[in-house]
């Protein structure tokens, strides 16, 4: 597993006005998720709001436990239908209904901010690509854009994980304050191309 935390530490949260970051990478999303949890939750003491589209809340919790990250202020909006009964999890009815999803997201933020009023929160959306399977790109773009404004109003930091050449990259890049491209360095790519296994 590639450790992206040092790169994230170097690039994010240096500007006080920064409220949204787009991370474009072909690394596995779990590697970047872990890096973000380490930076925001472990280093900076943020709480987290996670959109669970590709993985269940239980698998995120397991990851955080394994890596020793305190997850008491990590909240999950579960659209996977995994039936998680954890108090920090809110089960969503339908990933294809973005109006409901918006209501649920802000209900979750309200709950989280009430329980941890001293904490700043960040929202993690690592599955923009998967959400496109259930929604038209234009509808999804409108959902992301409108919620970005609400997140900003609530002082919630947003992180979006995007694949290189993703359909919505241009939209997300426009409203993000920080755009970070993560990938193997030229040397790493060269080493892999000539047979280095790491």
């Amino acid at each position: 597993m590639h450790d992206v935390t040092p790169e994230l530490r170097k690039a994010l949260l240096h500007d006080k006005a920064e409220r949204a970051a787009a991370i474009i990478s072909n690394y596995a999303s779990l590697e970047i998720d872990l890096g973000l949890f380490e930076l925001f939750v472990q280093d900076q003491g943020f709480g987290a709001l996670v959109f669970c589209v590709d993985r269940s809340p239980a698998s995120y919790r397991q990851l955080l436990t394994e890596k020793g990250v305190n997850d008491e202020a990590v909240f999950y909006l579960d659209v996977t239908g995994a039936g998680d009964n954890h108090p920090n999890t809110l089960a969503s009815l339908n990933i294809g209904n973005l109006s409901y999803l918006t209501l649920e997201v802000f209900q979750m933020i309200e709950t989280a901010q009430k329980r941890f009023p001293q904490r700043n929160f960040f929202v993690l959306l690592d599955s923009v690509g998967s959400m496109q399977l259930y929604n038209e790109p234009e509808t999804l773009a409108r959902f992301l854009h409108a919620n970005n404004l609400r997140f900003r109003a609530l002082n919630v930091y947003q992180t979006y994980l995007l694949e290189p050449n993703g359909k919505l990259n241009n939209v997300v890049r426009k409203f993000c304050d920080n755009i970070l491209e993560l990938g193997p360095t030229k040397e790493e790519a060269f080493a892999r191309a000539i047979g280095a296994q790491r």
Binding site: P184, T185, K186, E187, E188, A189, F190, A191, R192, A193, I194, G195, A196, Q197, R198
Partner: protein, 262 residues
């Protein structure tokens, strides 16, 4: 990473012209190309004109040095044993090629040039094969730059040593004409380069990387160059030029690989 958009098997089309030249040159024996009074193109294929041969060797050697330098830089950055061994293999090949070029500039440097080319080809091919089998689970502890410089210095000292004590050259190399024994290491080198090319071809199928693609071509050309020496019949044979040009083309293929954009 820069990816190729076509199947890696198309690398055959790059190697094919060299293979055809190799075949044609094998059929057209030296007596066809080297008469008593060589002029024009025929002179290029004979040992009478050493300067051009030396120039080709020197260019190939310098290009290979550049490849060795870059590969060492990558080894220093990634701490990969495999990359470091590859870098050392290129350093040996580069030193041997430059050595052959310099030796060729002297009227009686033919033996040293033959020895330099033979030794560097066989050693580098063995190092490249070994690189495929090294364990990658641990980071290298020694400094990669020191290892590569040590390789270059050792190879240079060995070549200078053999040049100073010319009589200590193996008899099959120091003989007036190429013998079967003298050319015997070359098929071994060719097998080594083929193995490495096959490994990289399979890697290219998996990664679709343009860097790997050009490495496949480079190794295949080195294998062809080795075969050309094995089949050559001595001074003036066209196959010597197939060898030189294939090695030059191989070095340019490696250069292409290291200069590809990220």
């Amino acid at each position: 990473m820069s990816n190729i958009s076509h199947p890696p098997c198309k690398s055959v089309f790059v190697i094919l012209p060299f293979a055809i030249v190799l075949l044609l040159a094998t059929m057209a024996r030296p007596d066809l190309l080297c008469s008593q009074n060589n002029t024009g193109m025929a002179a290029l294929f004979c040992d009478n004109d050493r300067t051009i041969g030396a120039l080709v060797d020197l260019i190939a050697g310098i290009v290979l040095m550049t490849v060795a330098y870059y590969t060492t830089k990558v080894a220093a950055s990634t701490r990969s044993r495999r990359v470091l061994l590859t870098a050392c293999a290129f350093a040996v090949l580069a030193t041997g090629t430059v050595g052959a070029g310099i030796a060729k500039l002297h009227a009686d440097g033919g033996n040293v040039a033959a020895f330099s080319s033979t030794a560097s080809a066989i050693i580098s091919s063995l190092m490249l094969v070994a690189a495929l089998h090294v364990f990658e689970d641990k980071n290298i502890k020694r400094h990669p730059w020191a290892m590569t410089i040590l390789t270059v210095v050792t190879t240079t000292l060995a070549l200078v040593g053999f040049t100073m004590f010319g009589s200590s050259l193996p008899p099959f190399i120091a003989g007036q004409r190429m013998t079967l024994l003298g050319t015997a290491p070359w098929p071994l080198a060719a097998i080594g380069f083929v193995l490495v090319a096959v490994f990289h071809y399979r890697l290219c199928l998996k990664l679709h990387s343009r860097i790997t693609y050009w490495f496949v071509i480079g190794y295949a050309l080195l294998a062809l160059a080795s075969l050309a020496v094995f089949f050559n019949r001595g001074s003036g044979d066209a196959l010597v030029w197939v060898f030189r040009l294939s090695r030059l083309a191989a070095s340019l293929a490696f250069l292409r690989a290291i200069t590809l954009k990220h």
